[in-house]
Amino acid sequence: MAFDKMKLRDIEVWDGNFAAAQALRQCQVDVVSAYPITPSTAIVEGYAKFKSDNFVEGEFIMVESEHAAMSGCIGAAAAGGRVATATSSQGLALMSETLYQASGMRLPIVLNLVNRALASPLNVNGDHSDMYMVRDSGWIQFDAFNPQEAYDLNFIAFKVSEDHDIRLPAIVNQDGFMTSHTAQGVATMDDDTAFGFVGTYKPMNDMLDFEHPVTHGVQTEEDWHFEHKARQHNDLMTKAGPKIDEVFADFKKLTGRKYSQVETYDMEDADVAVFCLGTSVETAREVAKEMRTRGIKAGVVGLRVIRPFPFAQVQATLKDVKAVAVLDRSSPNGAAGAMFNEVTTAMYSAENSPLISGYIYGLGGRDLTKVHLVDLYNELDTNVKAGKVTTPLQQFIGVRGPKLAYL
């Protein structure tokens, strides 16, 4: 190969952005088509630097918008390349039309989505509004809680996404700033081991295979559209989950780091649990341990795979819990919380259902403190003792002014 290898220390102190950029380098991504936006900029900037320093053999396509960025990714993926990009917030919003094209065309592309609030008002900080905005786009979605996971999940995403039974694009989410700009110790793989895990990309129906001409992005109307969408949904519902489990198992064999579609912490005997995403999962884990010293059997559930939604695993995880708080870092704007809706739907048909209450928190990067979480666990404990949800179903945490609660 014509590129240089990079020597890494076993533990590097990287922020989530640089960890993701290093993963793209180690996967030897062929094409990055990108329009940088805060807080994801350093990912594509990192790839571009690696390329200019001859650490990757690939193409960096500078485009005029995020819509064009994803369009470039779609073209490159249809041509038969290993493709990735990164974006956040408004960038994802502009990209959203093309996300549906990518998944409908069954193109394995990895998008690092550094979660950020959506304007207006303008805000560059982390919340999950962008993640939820594209939840129905047909992409597989992983969620990293720290920089290590932002690194690891990129390899896992390529391997799942590029599998010929799957051929669906994948998003790796990480919290804007709280992960993307927070440096922590990251256990690395050497270049050969890392590339060996994802392997050389084998495209399917690639347009540059002139022996087998194919058409991408066709029009179907009412005669075939439904069948295509149904097949895509079927593959997400039946094939993606088992493939993700298989790749998680392979990754554990290689690195010792274990991932599950639904991550559980102190849940074996938990009476009360917090269900959330991103860095909040880790802060909640620390608080749950403290609650246990105060006699409250507290646990934490973190959703590692957002799409396909691990319905059965969520049911199995929560069926013996007495009270659960589902946290949404996004304004539901006129409804119950997005994740609250998903979890309650799963538990409605479960063997047993806990008392479930929803909390809106952390919009625009507002801090979720340990004190907030202590109060929340105490509230759940009150619900357990009362045998019912004693508060409105939707409460706001950490917003100034009079306490807000609905439903």
Binding site: I11, V13, D15, T38, V124, D175, F177, M178, H181, T182, A183, Q184, G185, T279, S280, E282, T283, R285, E286, D367, L368, T369, K370, V371
Partner: protein, 185 residues
């Protein structure tokens, strides 16, 4: 858990300093976290950066912190920001200023009764590195006050962290670290 808050202006190198310190500490087997609030993200705007250090993996991602150390690397911020916010009884302050500790406490009464050390990181940086980048001298002062590492180990580690810079700049930084170590009071 050791917790540090940096007060800086965007462009003075607090993020690089916090990440560099995290990198050095990480090589000794400790777990680290370094992050920042960028505020309006404009050069010259007041901002804060943070370090957490522990023996166990750091899972706390809350931004709230009651720091063990406060580093102030721009001399005006003791007047325009509240550098004592979330103070705890044993919080130590290392502040860059041309004033003596006593003069500084008179000028900013909020620091009265607190454990305050002073060092002129700006002048040191100008005279050694050639630019007013006060982050590495602050780390030199921190090594003196905390006794965290031997200077030889710390300087060797920082040479690796600064590895990609021109040799002249690295040499200037080494001098700056040593001078701040010697001059902090």
């Amino acid at each position: 858990m050791l917790e540090i808050r940096w007060h800086s202006r965007a462009g003075q190198g607090a993020v690089t300093g916090a990440k560099g310190l995290a990198d050095v500490i990480s090589t000794t087997g400790k777990q680290v976290q370094a992050f920042a609030f960028y505020g309006s993200a404009k050069r010259g705007a007041a901002m804060t950066a943070y370090n957490r250090v522990d023996d166990n993996v750091i899972m706390n991602h809350e931004k709230y912190m009651e720091p063990d150390y406060v580093f102030v690397i721009d001399p005006a911020l003791v007047y325009t920001s509240d550098v004592t916010v979330n103070h705890k009884e044993n919080t130590k302050y290392i502040i860059t200023t041309h004033l003596s500790t006593e003069e500084l406490k008179k000028a900013q009464p909020k620091l009265e009764g607190k454990e305050v050390y002073t060092v002129d990181c700006i002048t040191i940086a100008k005279e050694t590195i050639g630019r007013a980048i006060p982050n590495t001298p602050m780390l030199g002062a921190f090594m003196k006050i905390s006794g965290m590492y031997e200077m030889d180990f710390f300087k060797t580690s920082m040479q690796r962290v600064l590895g990609k810079l021109p040799q002249k700049i690295i040499d200037g930084n080494m001098l700056a670290i040593q001078r701040a170590y010697d001059e902090v009071k």
